[in-house]
């Protein structure tokens, strides 16, 4: 396959950026999107140019490091992570636009790499339990009703990639935050911090400069792990409950 790539290049956080056009040839349909970018970077390096900076780690869709808005879609046209997106989703001769996540809470570090530490700070505000950890307890030590366990598991699938923020027209982190809140709030292990968790995580989300939710649903459509839109509704419910219950 021969492709035209239009890639966002930006030297550093302060420098202005712009789209740069590159041609790549000899791309196989079986390559992942990141392997296609590796091919581009090899050519750039051989030609004495700076390679395009992009985030990646596991390349198996579980770490949440990869990003990229591809032709206007976070993680591209399939519902998966960019590392699990394959070139068979594109046609020979295509022009592909590649941009970084856009949100003021995710400033660009370089090219396609953004700083997502604002997510870490939301987690630090309440995405943990205070129960003592140690050796793994017996699986049946704390009974959890099956629907609750399923719900916790569904939300625990969030890999914190930030596609929800990138897709949201308001740069809102509601889907991410709701996944993290619901994951722990439905479990008995998360009960001691049930109120403080949701209040503090939502407050930190606001402080970090994420936008609010207007329920456009773009986040849930973009989520590679299928965190559903009603997660936000569930978090709203938890938040309203917590404002009434929390000790002041």
């Amino acid at each position: 396959m021969k492709l035209t790539l239009r890639v966002w290049r930006q030297q550093n956080a302060e420098a202005p950026g712009a789209m740069a056009t590159y041609e790549v040839d000899g791309i196989s349909q079986d390559m992942s999107f990141l392997e296609m970018l590796d091919t581009l970077n090899e050519e750039l390096i051989l030609g004495g140019d700076e390679p395009v900076a992009f985030d990646h780690d596991c390349r198996e869709g579980i770490c949440g490091a990869c990003s990229l808005v591809i032709n206007g879609d976070a993680h591209g046209p399939e519902r998966t992570t960019t590392c699990q997106l394959h070139m068979r989703s594109f046609d020979d001769g295509d022009t592909i636009d590649i941009e970084p996540w856009r949100a003021s809470a995710f400033p660009v570090v370089k090219d396609l790499v953004v700083d997502r530490s604002s997510f870490d700070r939301i987690i630090q505000a309440g995405g943990y339990i205070s129960a003592p950890t140690g050796t793994a307890p017996d699986a049946h030590a704390t009974p959890v009703p099956k629907p609750d366990a399923d719900s916790a598991f569904e939300h625990a699938e969030c890999i914190g990639c930030g596609a929800c923020v990138a897709a949201c027209p308001n740069g809102s982190a509601m889907l991410f935050t709701s996944a993290k809140v619901n994951h722990l709030n439905v479990l008995p292990q998360g009960a001691p911090e049930r109120e403080t968790r949701v209040l503090d995580m939502v407050a930190t989300m606001d402080d970090e400069g994420f936008g609010g939710c207007t329920l456009t649903g773009e986040c849930a459509t973009a989520c590679p792990k299928g965190i559903p839109l009603p997660s936000i509704t569930a978090m709203n419910k938890e938040w309203l409950r917590a404002t009434r219950k929390v000790r002041r």
């Binding site: 966002w8 941009e99 856009r102 740069g171 209040l199 936008g211 009603p230 509704t233 404002t243």
Partner: protein
């Protein structure tokens, strides 16, 4: 000795910054519930949802009341008079009406201020647009802000037209709403302004009603179909009900 140094858990070995990072909870005194609501994006959205639903409830009643125009001038004017005597003798003349007005003004102001502040936050959060743009959300979803502005302007005009009579076409007669409504809908601009605003209202309610359910935490995957249907029904019934009046005047059904 080296081993013991590593095994002892003193403050020295464990910098306090690490400890405080791990326990970075907000343990200071929490602000009041009102403060929490007003300061949070989720709380402010709750205020929007509740004030929106208050206005929506009013509009359903208002629309039904307007339909009395089809029963003629006597019945319509009598209904308008009854609104002023509502609650008597417990309430004084027009008190019920004034209570409704105060609640509505509070709802409009809270709704508009929240909408403005939340929209500012949203625009700040996404300062750079994507080069490759796609419009995906539904028309109703995308037009909440413009539609809201249209509604705000309409509310002002509507009150100056039919409540105070300040900008009314023809001689405004207090206590004769039937004639006043006929006057308004006898002008082309009266019809245009009104119908545009009512269509904007329909769209606003279609996304707004369902949204409010999500904001208030009563939506769920299983209730989604019901809520969306209800939103559509409300939007269509409100739009049709309100639009029927100018259409009836224009076509001479009401004269």
């Amino acid at each position: 000795m080296e081993m013991r140094r590593f095994m002892s858990w003193t403050d020295e070995d464990f910098p306090s910054s690490v400890v405080s990072m791990a326990l970075a909870t907000r343990t200071d005194r929490r602000p009041s519930m009102t403060r929490t609501l007003w300061d949070s994006s989720v709380g402010k959205k709750t205020i929007m949802a509740v004030s929106g639903l208050v206005m929506l409830g009013y509009l359903v009643v208002h629309m039904l009341g307007n339909l009395k125009i089809f029963f003629g001038s006597d019945e319509f004017n009598h209904y308008a008079h009854w609104l002023r005597t509502l609650g008597e003798p417990f309430l004084h003349y027009e008190w019920a009406l004034w209570i409704v007005r105060v609640v509505l003004v509070a709802a409009v102001v809270l709704h508009a201020v929240s909408a403005y502040q939340l929209s500012r936050r949203d625009l700040r959060a996404r300062p750079t647009a994507y080069v490759h743009r796609k419009a995906r959300s539904s028309y109703a979803t995308r037009t909440m802000r413009y539609g809201g502005v249209i509604l705000a302007l309409f509310i002002v005009w509507h009150i100056l037209d039919l409540t105070t009579g300040t900008v009314h076409s023809g001689g405004f007669q207090s206590g004769h709403p039937y004639q006043n409504v006929l006057d308004t809908f006898s002008t082309w601009y009266g019809n245009v302004i009104y119908i545009v605003a009512v269509l904007a209202l329909g769209l606003h309610v279609q996304h707004g009603f369902w949204s409010a359910a999500q904001t208030l935490g009563v939506g769920s995957a299983t209730r989604d179909r019901v809520l969306k249907t209800l939103a559509n029904v409300l939007a269509v019934v409100l739009t049709a009900g309100f639009v029927s009046v100018p259409v009836a005047v224009m076509t001479g059904v009401v004269s």
